[in-house]
Subunit: 280 residues, 2 copies
């Protein structure tokens, strides 16, 4: 049992290294091939710096697991697998950048948000603060790069098309989840139902963080329709549970356990499911 | 000669009808299939209203021409051609929505910009004005829909992948053009070179409006590499000429000819190539 755990941990470590390398190589390549470093060195440099910050990389890991679970080829032989896995991380980065603009956040992954970074680093004659405007566009570009990244894997083109359809459907769903979440933030607690809040959990966390990466990997590996259906149900349920547990930890765990201040959901007046339940 | 002109005009009219129908059908389908109308009726309704506003549809038209010019199949037989053509129009809409947020514009195509529409139509308990935040997300969703639209055409999957790579590379280039354009707007005229301004023309207009749709169509039709190279050069040159002529008309034509007030570039203090040249 311990042996399995050690092997798993070692494998995850090795995969994380490959995912991070895939991200770094991709951005170097894109900046060169699209000429971004020439068009705007600041755009290229700070977007890359933002993406390569330390993160959990849970989505690309699940993508690789989804692929491994259904393929009959040895993973080491699959050219471009880890670059494709980076696509879902880039989609996440693009959304974080836009969310930070929307929420006017100053910090992300322990460093300035991208719009703050642009404001600090780009010198303008009129000293205007246009970081948020520039970060909207930088996020859009990362969305484009995310799509391209997915195409990197050497796999059957029909499967790639299925995985791509899953990626863009999930991007649309996550966007819709963010849309209603922003609206809910300006509504009264008594006007929101548990169903409303649970829908944002499903769209913003369950589908995007867990279901989509698993299903994309499985689609690329050629999993059958029925298997995809099961994996999707599993991913959504696991993702919903993850979000509920996250809410729970924020209220009842210690800073030592969750690695960030507790009760921060309450401080930010987030309308979590537990807040709604407590209010009722 | 007149006969050719009449035939061309009739053909364009017929294509425009199919493109508009393709856009309408796609949005109805996406709103239903992604459940957007259920998640947020306002998001679904106003995004659709925005996209279906009267526009020139020059990009999807060039896409269809690019396809027709290189295919050996009769266009009428190609299922999904006009839905695929709609992809470049949706990409344009997504960019317009974000540009309008960045420029804080109030009108687009003679009606309120999408963020203004959200502010007018979405009632919030705290009366906050969050239209721009919501429009950023609505734009992101249309980008996802644009990618899906491109996949509609019944064509060889390798060709579809090539066309998709072109679409996302162009989205990245147009974004980079917008990025430097926003920065240039806050710099002194004397600090900008003709080369700087011409680069924004190439990225924002020539590649996006002319070259990309033509080349995407040709790639889907299976045009050879060398032909694509030629078409790309032609598209970029035509697009640059189009932008220069547009600048010229703004200064020297009449409102009757261009259908909008003349000298508006000067009123908006746009740093056009002619302004830079006049300043030197």
């Amino acid at each position: 049992m311990i042996w399995i755990y050690v092997t798993m941990a070692g494998m995850i470590e090795a995969y994380l290294k490959k995912i991070n390398q895939g991200l770094a190589d991709l951005l170097t390549d894109v900046n060169r091939r699209y000429g971004l470093s020439r068009i705007s060195p600041q755009l290229a440099r700070y977007s890359k710096e933002f993406v390569l910050r330390k993160g959990k990389r849970i989505r690309p890991l699940l993508f690789v697991f989804g692929y491994e679970g259904y393929t009959c080829r040895p993973t080491a032989d699959i050219r471009g697998l880890f670059t494709s896995a980076a696509s879902i991380e880039l989609l996440h980065d693009f959304m974080l950048i836009h969310d930070d603009v929307i929420d006017k956040s100053a910090l992300r992954r322990g460093k300035p948000t991208l719009h703050k970074l642009f404001d600090q680093k780009i010198r303008l004659a009129d000293h205007a603060k246009i970081g948020p405007e520039l970060a909207i566009v930088a996020g859009d570009i990362l969305f484009a790069v995310a799509i391209e990244a997915l195409l990197a894997i050497r796999e059957n083109p029909e499967r790639k098309e299925l995985a791509l359809r899953k990626l863009v459907a999930t991007a649309a769903h996550t966007g819709a989840g963010e849309f209603i979440d922003v609206v809910f933030g300006h509504q009264r607690l008594e006007d929101l139902t548990e169903k409303d809040v649970f829908l944002t959990y499903t769209l913003k966390t369950a589908k995007f963080t867990v279901e989509c990466p698993l299903v994309m990997g499985a689609l690329l590996a050629g999993a059958k329709r029925q298997e995809i259906g099961r994996l999707s149900s599993l991913g959504i349920a696991a993702g919903q549970a993850f979000q509920l547990y996250d809410d729970f930890l924020d209220l009842f765990a210690s800073q030592k356990i969750i690695g960030k201040p507790v009760l921060s959901d309450l401080v930010e007046a987030k309308k979590t499911l537990m807040v709604i339940k407590a209010y009722r």
